[in-house]
Every structure is written in C-alpha cells, then in structure tokens.
C-alpha cells in the first residue's frame, strides 16, 4: 500500500505555505489526517504544525553564516546537502508514516531547483522508490494571469518545472480571493483554444502567429497545462482542488480494492468492470 505525497511548488510568494496551512485546517475539519513537511530551508515561521522540518537537518541562516554564502548559493547548498542525506535523514523522518498516510511537502520557490539542479528530481525519484504516489502541485499567483500573454507565460513556467519532475501534476491559480474581478481570469480556467489564439495574435507581433498557434494547441491538447482556481476562504474550493489531486495519485482507491479482494477471496467475483473507484468526492 503506498503512501501519498503532494509536492507543493511554485514561485516565491505564490501562496505555497498559505495553501499548506489552509489545507491542513480543511482536512482537520473534514476528519482527514495529513502531515506537512517543510522542505524550505529559508522558511521562518509556520502557521501550520510541521511534522518534518528540513531545518532540523540544515538551515539557510546557518549555511549563509558559516559558509559565507549569499541567499542563492546558500539555498543550493542546503538542497544539495539534503540530497546527500536522503537515505539516512529523510528515510528516518518518514519511517513514522506508514501505509495510506498523506504527506504534503512545502518546497522552496526557486525554479533553479527544478530545472538545473537535479535535487528535486532525485528527491521525487527517491520518494517513488519508497512507494509514495507523488503529485506535484504548481502554484501560481492569479494576479499574474491577468491577460493571455501572462497566462501563457505561467503555463511555460509550470511546464518547465513539470517536465523535469515527471510525476502527475496539477496547476493552481492562487489568491483568487484577492482578484478585483474574477471574470478576467475565468477564461483561463477553461480555455477555449480558438479564443486564446485570437487574443494571442492580437497582443503579440505578427511574426509570432505560428508560435501562438503551437501554444494554443498545446493548451487545448493537454489538460495538464490548465489551471484550477483556489480561493482559500472557500472550503469548497479547497475540497475541489484536493479531490483533483487525490484523483491524480489515486488516493482512496486502494481501500476499495482491498474490500473487493476480500470479497473475491470469499468466492464472490465483484470486480466485473467496476473501475470507477475513487473520485467520488469530485464535483
């Protein structure tokens, strides 16, 4: 039976830690147990209870002070240090979490960690080896999706992280509650490729038409490129997002399989084509 993990990533300030906090509260209120892991060595304070904290292994402040590194060099150092200690420190920390446990990893923002430096990829691979079902949750501030070119830009940024991690992923437009008007952003939540293309062609110079077309087709063909909205004040919004992620990692499905297996053992074959397990919470 696997353990489950959400890897919460995205640019600095996009709302990762706030999401973790609100997700935790939401899960408490619906009776679900989740555990939050802090992987950001530069984090300062938490509003959520932290089950595992990278700062017990290494912290940015210490590294910067002792090794006289700047904030970037320091962060890279911390993450590479984590990579070297995955087998001992992390596996020890995660020992307490057993089958069916659900962990949420709050990650540092820097995109360099997902593109150039292999550390997060190595981390994900290791989790998978330990039988975790992992979903990457990419957070983007909705205030930066105010027009079509920015939206495309957001898709590209997300994709550039996603292709390195190679796990199921869900994109989230955060801070929907801070938007003065949701209508601007609505069209990006369920994009119509033709409209998108039209607007791109309006905003960009004519020489970009072919590129615009390729991008619009990409968005159309792959739902993985699209975003889900998140309004942290709205329990339904949080639940909707959670259900999507659960579905991506098939959380909740194994429980049913177990029961079915048991029935099968007792001589009743129940499993005829009954594959719509899980996702019963979905709207």
């Amino acid at each position: 039976m696997p353990r489950y993990a959400q890897l919460v990533i995205g640019p600095a300030g996009s709302g990762k830690s706030t999401y973790c906090h609100n997700l935790y509260q939401h899960c408490q209120s619906v009776g679900r147990v989740i555990h939050i892991v802090n992987l950001d060595p530069a984090a300062e304070t938490f509003r959520y209870p932290v089950s595992v904290d990278i700062r017990e292994l290494i912290s940015l402040e210490d590294v910067m002070e002792e090794l006289k590194l700047g904030p970037n060099g320091g962060l890279v150092y911390c993450m590479e240090y984590l990579e070297e200690n995955l087998d001992d420190w992390l596996s020890e920390q995660l020992e307490d979490y057993i089958d069916d446990d659900y962990l949420v990893f709050d990650c540092p923002g820097q995109i360099e960690l997902y593109s150039h430096i292999p550390v997060l990829r190595t981390f994900v691979d290791q989790l998978k080896k330990w039988d975790f079902a992992v979903c990457a949750v990419y957070m983007l501030d909705s205030q930066f999706a105010s027009d079509v070119t920015k939206y495309i830009s957001g898709c590209m940024a997300s994709l550039s992280a996603m292709i390195q991690l190679e796990v199921p992923h869900v994109n989230v437009l955060t801070k929907m509650d801070l938007l003065p008007s949701k209508s601007n952003v609505d069209k990006f939540l369920d994009p119509d490729a033709r409209l998108l293309l039209g607007e791109l062609n309006d905003q960009m110079a004519p020489r970009f038409q072919k590129l615009n077309k390729a991008l619009a087709e990409l968005v159309d063909d792959y739902s993985m490129v699209s975003f889900l909205p998140l309004d942290i004040r709205d329990e339904e919004s949080i639940q909707y997002l959670l259900s999507h992620i659960d579905n991506a990692i098939q959380f909740g499905e194994d429980a049913e399989v177990k029961i079915k297996d048991y029935d099968a053992d007792m001589g009743e074959s129940e499993d005829a084509g009954n594959f719509d397990m899980g996702g019963e919470d979905e709207d």
């Binding site: 600095a12 995109i111 590209m156 292709i163 390195q164 190679e166 590129l211």
Partner: protein, 376 residues
Amino acid sequence: MSESDLDLSDAEEETPHAEMKKLDIQGKAAEASSSSKKPIIIIVIGMAGSGKTTLMHRLVAHVQESGKRGYVLNLDPAVTNLPYGANIDIRDTVKYKNVMKEYGLGPNGGILTSLNLFATKFDEVVGLVEKRAPELDYVLVDTPGQIEIFTWSASGAIITEAFASTFPTVVTYVVDTPRSTSPVTFMSNMLYACGILYKTRLPLMLAFNKTDITQHQFAVEWMEDFEKFQDAVESDKSYNANLSRSLCLVLDEFYQNLRKVGVSAISGAGMKEFFETVDACGQDYMQNYRVELEQRRKDKEQREEERKRVNLEKLERDIAESKGEPVVLASASKKDVLGEDADAADVAEEEEIYDSDVSGEVDDDDDNEDEKHYRY
C-alpha cells in the same frame, strides 16, 4: 502628455514624473538629442548560477575597451561583492539587510521587498537614463540572482515596462550551458525562456554562457534541427511521447523568434557577436515592436489618467463628506503610484516603509562613469 504620433528616430519622450518636469530635463534632453539614436537597454536575466553578474562584468569591460558608451545598473539588492562599478546601484537606495530585519522577512522576502521599494522610485531612474541618453550606446541592467524575483513579480514587470515604453529594450536570457546538455533540462530551460518572451513581449536573445567549459554547438543543433532534438528528448526519458512532441513543436516555433549567441564571461569569447546580436535586436525593436511600444505608451498614459481621475474623485468625495472640515488624506499607496500591477499584499508593506527606509533620491554615480578599470 505626449502625442500618439511616434517618430522613433527623433528624440526624447516626455517623462511622466512631475519632479523631472520641474527640472526641465525634458526640454534640455530634447534639444540635445533631436537627432540622436537612443541607447539600447539590455536587461540581463538568468537562473541563479548561470553567471549573470560575471557576464555583466565582462560586458561592462568590453564596452569600455571598445570605445562604446555604456551605463550600468545593478538591481540585485543582495549581492555582496559586485565585480563591476555600477552607475546606479539599488543598494545605494535600499538596504536589503535593514529591510529584512525591520520587517521580519526571510531572504526572499527581503530581496522582493527591496526591489518593490526601488520600483516605486523607478521613474527617477528612467529620467536619469533619459538625461544621459544622447551620450549612450548601451545600458546594461543586472537583475537579482533568483530569476523569479524579477520575472514573476510586480516590480520586475514595472521596471521592464518603464524601460520598454521609453527605450529600445532587449532581454538577454543567460543559459548555464554546461548544465543544459541534457535534452530535458534544455527543454525545461527553453520553455521558461519562452514564458519570459510572452511575459515581457520584448526581443529575446539567448546568451549561452560558460562556453569555455562546454561549447554551445549542441544547443544550436537542437535549435536548428527539430528531429534531432526530438530524438534526443525521447531517448533521454521514457516520456509521454505525445507531450514531448508537442513541446518540441512549440519550441521549434519559439526558436524562429529569437537570436542566440555563445559567450564566455571568463574568457571573453563572443563579445563582438553579443553586441552585434544586441544591435540586431535593437533594430528589431524599432521596426517590429513599434506597435507594441505605442500600445504600451498608451496603456501607461491611460493608467496615469485613470489614477488621476480616481484620486480626484476621492478628494472630492472626502471634501463632500467632511463638509469643509479638515480632512486627513490617505498617504499615497503603492497602488496609486503603480496602478493595478501592484501586488495587493505589498501595498500594505509599502505604505509603512516608504518614508523611512528609502533614502531620498536615486543616486547617479557621476564619478564612476569614466574611471572604472576592470581586472581579471
């Protein structure tokens, strides 16, 4: 306000900033530069560790040595040792460590807030550059170490727009060549660059740095031969073949719209080609981005008008409400200054720290202009 009729071969734009108008910079500048070209702004962006600052150092030295006229801006508030001299340095105006301490921010928060603070003063920076524009060929701009602080922030957008609506502006995306030799890492990097292209809507050039370690020929081949790249990607990972094909198609189109050059900050290779590419991009801007430019200027003017109108209405309302009693006006929030681009969360911060933490003016380091010598 300036007219919509643009003749970019001509001189100076008006600066919207009221203070600058008082100094009649506009008048003087117009006289001085009625027939001169504008300098090209080169915004140097790249992932942490790609070698931006080292490259800046090399670029600045090259500009000096080759007799071109350059102006240098440093926008990284957290850098401790800058190997080159900057004409305008964010660290003179905003003290990063103080910002972190006083507001209890972590290193990222500190850099972001420092940049936000500087962005509120950015009209002055543009004004200073405009003043010197007749004597300049290039303006080099170094950005904060973490790319997202510039590319995914309100202040980064504001700074870019401030330049782009006044000068031909080129974005140089610095690539860490040795680290990009794996096809998927390369693709990841290029996708991100594509995002920057769409965000800034400015001519983009790739500077493959560290060619002293790894030649960038492989990158050029991947960019010019779609099949080769696709084969490389598919053999690298057991990837969703359809997705990787679609991504390769996107990238193939993307490459048609940008220029590339290989450089080595350490050895100095590629400098001539770098500036030739910048010049080509600058031309591109003048010829093909004019429509963009007009739109940006119109947008900027509209925002100004809107802001004035809103403020006036507020004032009228306040007066009406107070019925003639003395009224306490709200202090200028960042939103008012910067419009809807301002990050809502930052607005509250800005209001508190605007006065005390930012030294009065943006300094233009006159002394530094002529004398820097660069050692390697």
